[in-house]
Symmetry: C2
């Protein structure tokens, strides 16, 4: 049988391994009862979900009152994640949730977290509970300056969580620059560290975060490939409380907005949701750094956090079986939390018993 010549698509195909459907997945959505839409309250950015003595815990950004989406008055709440604190909720079944109260509060005026704390993640390890979250000062919130990651620690999942005196991690001041002009990962990446996500892996601590150009984050023009100019970095520490050293391999993705990762087989799985050429892909890195595309999906959960069971059956998507995400509605309506369930081995195609316009609720 003669060999054909290789088209561009076949040349690219050498990068896509020949797999079965193990990593394939589609997402189903349902209500997270007790965390649904509530007038006057924004709830968003749910953390990973932990289970303590049979009870599920989730942590999330919570703020009250309308958002202006306008920088003209620094006293106004600008975004749903402005003037926010970290709250928690509990559930016996992962479906019915009860808000438990404030887990971590923003700091006093002049502190590194005096404006807002938001986009939390949680790690439970050896009887301690570690919350990480993005912090902003009032000054920085209005200038788009470098943000920091804060940490608060508790002996119980309900708190009280004691914040560290200093930031856990501060974004690199300078961007990174690669010399390949045509690459999507070339250029300067300004120092920001959004959506921190803390993993324990191979005895070390991996702090993932989103970063990109300020322009991209500040509502600049969308770039090709599905959206904004964002990607993820990672900083690694021997100790959960730091210091976290940014990987010299940053950025570790070329795409992705909010961080969502899970442990699998000594490595780390990642759901790259919107933004970038690899938007809507499931990826895996044996070393937590060099991620490979494992499957392509769509309608991914936004700002999701999953329950990562310690007793999974060894399926790579065990750490993504279900979780919570948020509905971030345009026009300033109230953000709220939703549940997703991941169906492994399935691809999402067009509507079943419903015309496609219903997909968008048009």
């Amino acid at each position: 049988m003669a060999l054909n010549k290789k088209s561009s698509a076949t040349i690219r195909a050498s990068r896509y391994a020949n797999r079965d459907n193990t990593w394939l997945c589609k997402f189903n959505y349902s209500e997270a009862k007790g965390l649904g839409r509530e007038i006057g309250v924004d709830r968003r950015d749910p953390s990973s979900i932990i289970k303590v003595q049979g009870i599920y815990y989730v942590y999330y950004t919570r703020s009250e009152g309308p958002s202006t989406f306008d920088r003209s008055n620094e006293k106004d709440k600008k975004f749903p994640w402005d003037f926010a604190d970290i709250w928690y909720a509990t559930s016996k079944d992962g479906i019915n949730w009860e808000e438990g109260g404030c887990a971590a509060k923003r700091g006093p005026s002049g502190s590194y977290f005096d404006r807002t704390i938001c986009t939390p993640d949680v790690l439970a390890h050896e009887g301690k509970y570690y919350l990480v979250y993005q912090t902003m000062t009032t000054t920085e919130f209005y200038t788009g300056g470098n943000e920091r990651v804060g940490m608060a620690i508790s002996d119980t999942p309900e708190g009280p969580f004691e914040p560290l005196e200093k930031p856990l991690f501060e974004a690199e001041k300078a961007g990174v620059l690669f010399d390949d002009e045509d690459s999507y990962n070339t250029g300067e990446f300004y120092g920001n560290c959004h959506d921190p996500f803390l993993m324990r892996n191979q005895g070390k601590y991996y702090l993932y975060y989103k970063y990109g150009s300020r322009k991209a984050e500040g509502g600049g023009p969308l770039r090709a490939y599905a959206g904004r100019d964002t990607r993820w970095g990672v900083a690694i520490s021997e100790d959960v409380k730091g210091p976290y050293i940014p990987s010299v391999y940053n950025p570790v993705t070329n795409s992705g907005h909010e961080t969502l990762l899970w442990n699998y087989k000594g490595g780390i799985g990642a759901l790259i949701n919107r933004d970038g050429p690899e938007a809507n892909t499931v990826q895996y890195a044996e070393d937590g750094i060099n991620f490979e595309i494992m499957s392509v999906t769509q309608l991914t959960p936004q700002a999701g956090g999953a329950y990562i069971p310690e007793d999974g059956n060894g399926h790579p998507l065990d750490g993504l079986r279900w979780g919570l995400c948020h509905v971030d509605e345009k026009g300033g309506d109230w953000n709220y939390i939703y549940r997703f369930d991941t169906e492994a081995g399935q691809a999402d195609v067009l509507p079943v018993n419903n015309p496609p316009h219903l997909y968008r609720g048009e």
Copy 2:
């Protein structure tokens, strides 16, 4: 500024050019009035849309009666595209459609198109109208044998369309085999040629078609990367009536189910919808063969056909501004036709004013 080390994602990023949002797009859906759901009738696989003296024409697969989805009795209509003919509809505005009647009928018993003709496309050129469609014989329909592409020609868009005596194109009997074992485009691809799509470009005729392994098409297990094991080939001819010679570069994609392409700047744009590692991407090939990824999208139209204006304003997505697609509902409900409109420069993110479960009509 020091150079960082390149992560796997940054190495991959060298393949994603540094673009603006020109090729970015999202799809909005609405009713194609007059071609909506009708009990007892399947309408699907709309062709490209042509405009003749101010009237839009579309051609599509039409069949009547329920489908069994079962091979046990060859006299039964198995699929919505079984025992089908090609019909046409007209519209003044692209929204309100009127079914015009049968444009091309399947052939007499024993002919190469005696079982069904389906998945049409149309090309208007110099006062002639060329319909292409997939043909199947009764024998082949039940054994999964090689299919053929048929052509029928008319002097008017309403017909009568006269079928060619012989098939326009027959799939390569043998598959292609590449020597790179790890590549997604390695392996044998059985001879089939579904969803023919006929383009005129640079004075030649390009007949695109979908092909893959029989296993993939026969409902075998889904592969990773978003679905089935399908991709596109192209066969090129100097004359619209053939002979069409398969490109030695086949396959020209590594992904994609139903074909949807358009002319742009002397090259050809392609919407890769579901299936494969590059599902949900917009691509472009200057030569109609070597396609590059231009943007990433989601919720793509299924089996779509677009209106390709001759007087576009030079935007790459002019040939994808609007068109028709189908709703192929699971469980044997009636297939019907829907309209899509393409919003350029925008990425599709999660719901606006609606919870995500409405996306799927759950």
